[in-house]
């Protein structure tokens, strides 16, 4: 009973985090075009490369996230995925020029150059961000009957996050901030959200163990 109560109380947090992961995925994808342009141009195939890599990494992310959720799923581990994502988007801001330059020097054809560069920059962080959706479903579902409904609601929230992340980044962020500033902000917020999930988990663990202790006494 107590456990169920806990699950319910952190549901809004999980939806918020899923929303933000969707927001970040598309925000970063949109900035991808801007990041690659100085080295690989703005031909159509640039978007081909970026979208391919994002779809590919999301598909792996879903697979890995689902698998991971079968072993001791907890809000704390969920938070760790966010912290990891926050760390792994940092290389995009820190080293993208160097990474792209070395690829530019080796690969003459800008189609394959942009594909390899997208892989190098976006694959790992997007895989991690992709893990969040199935993991969220695992944390939210308590009743088999409602699993489809909850999955639907979760996809609704995270895809809405993607839509808003796309429009806000392309309409306003690029006009107000530099690309790296946006990436750093994404990273900081991902990390903070992850930390808050971990802390809430710790707090609830402490409470429930003391409760359990009280019952035993």
């Amino acid at each position: 009973m107590q456990n169920n109560q806990n699950v319910k109380s952190h549901n809004p947090l999980i939806y918020l985090l899923a929303f933000y992961s969707g927001f970040c995925i598309m925000g970063i994808e949109l900035l991808g075009g801007r990041i690659l342009a100085p080295f690989f141009g703005s031909s159509v195939h640039i978007w081909g490369s970026i979208i391919t890599v994002f779809m590919l990494s999301l598909s792996f992310g879903y697979l890995i996230g689902g698998k991971l959720s079968t072993k001791n799923a907890s809000l704390s581990r969920y938070g760790l995925i966010f912290i990891l994502a926050g760390v792994m988007v940092l290389p995009i801001a820190l080293w993208s020029s160097h990474i792209m330059e070395s690829i530019f020097l080796v690969i003459e054809d800008s189609r394959y150059g942009s594909l390899v560069a997208s892989m190098a920059l976006f694959f790992i962080p997007t895989v991690i961000l992709g893990m969040i959706s199935p993991y969220s479903v695992r944390l939210l579902v308590t009743d088999k009957e409602k699993s489809g409904q909850i999955a639907g609601k979760l996809y609704f929230v995270s895809t809405l996050g993607s839509a808003i992340g796309t429009i806000v980044t392309s309409f306003y962020f690029v006009l107000l901030f530099e690309v790296n500033q946006i990436i750093y902000t994404f990273s900081v917020i991902l990390t903070l959200l992850g930390l808050s999930a971990v802390m809430i988990y710790k707090y609830q663990q402490k409470n429930s163990t003391s409760m359990a202790g009280a019952v035993h006494e």
């Binding site: 801007r34 342009a37 080295f39 141009g41 031909s43 159509v44 800008s110 690029v174 006009l175 530099e178």
Partner: protein, 298 residues
């Protein structure tokens, strides 16, 4: 009476026959809709929609040498700074007018055209007599990539013409400090860069600040009739009015067959040294911050 009607009818049919633009070619390329339109003696290359604002390049069919557009004529102001370009780089082909004209003027010059859209090159060849030989070549590539690769090969150009903005959309990675630095590195000792741009209001300030950040003060050439302006920069210090006047005298007869009045062109030149019409603290455009299209709408 019936004679008068006949005359009117004849006049009317002639009138419509002559004024109606005829689309002689139309295709959807990877990047845009391309139209080639004949209107009386004028043949024009258009992108996207059927308004004259989107004319990219035009020629007179009975006198292909004579330039139609003012901005193309204004580009020749560059010759006042360097009247003997041996290696020329043109980014953004259009109908190939610049390339053809420059070849006629300087038959020995190496002219490298760079165009992102292969369909544009095809259309230029077929409908605008775009001429290529061992000296004049065209490459399908994004301008930014071409410039980067050319720098790796340590290539130099005496004149770089940046004409990649089409009036509707600005390739934002071609309007940043980093791009201009890369382009500057391709300029020979007496090299000049001229850019045809159409920025207005907000973007005008940012574009100007960006060029100044890389090249220092530059020349603006604009006839004040539309938003088109030519930005003219050089690695050397800009020549004095006397030198420009003398060069104009030398060039005058040479440019006349193309319909260029170089004295008129020279009269449109202003230096930002005398008239800097944007605030000093304007933010420059960089690869990190380049919302050129959004700024142009403001």
């Amino acid at each position: 009476m019936s004679n008068i009607i006949k005359v009117i009818l004849l006049a009317f049919t002639l009138f419509t026959a002559f004024t109606q633009a005829k689309v002689i070619h139309q295709e959807r390329s990877l990047y845009r809709n391309i139209l080639v339109e004949d209107n009386q003696n004028r043949r024009c290359l258009k992108f996207n929609v059927k308004t004259s604002a989107n004319n990219q390049s035009c020629l007179y069919k009975d006198d292909p040498q004579r330039l139609v557009f003012n901005y193309t004529k204004l580009l020749f102001s560059s010759l006042l700074l360097n009247n003997d370009p041996k290696r020329i780089l043109i980014i953004g082909l259009g109908g190939g007018t610049m390339s053809n004209t420059l070849h006629t003027l300087y038959p020995q010059a190496v002219i490298q055209n760079v165009e992102i859209d292969p369909a544009v090159i095809k259309v230029a060849r077929k409908y605008f007599d775009f001429f290529e030989n061992e000296l004049i070549t065209s490459k399908v590539q994004d301008g930014r990539i071409f410039v980067k690769r050319a720098a790796l090969k340590k290539q130099k150009y005496d004149w770089i013409i940046l004409d990649a903005f089409n009036g509707e959309y600005i390739p934002e990675h071609l309007l940043t400090v980093e791009f201009l630095q890369e382009t500057k590195a391709l300029l020979s000792e007496n090299g000049i860069l001229s850019a045809n741009t159409f920025s207005s209001s907000e973007l005008y300030k940012h574009e100007s600040a960006t060029y100044k950040a890389v090249f220092g003060h530059f020349l603006n050439i604009s006839n004040g009739k539309n938003t088109n302006r030519i930005i003219l920069t050089s690695k050397q210090t800009l020549p004095s009015d006397d030198i420009i006047e003398n060069r104009a005298k030398e060039l005058s007869s040479k440019l006349k067959p193309f319909g260029i009045d170089i004295f008129e062109v020279a009269s449109y030149i202003t230096s930002t040294k005398d008239t800097q019409d944007w605030p000093e603290d304007t933010k420059v455009l960089t690869d990190q911050y380049s919302p050129a299209n959004l700024l142009n709408e403001k």
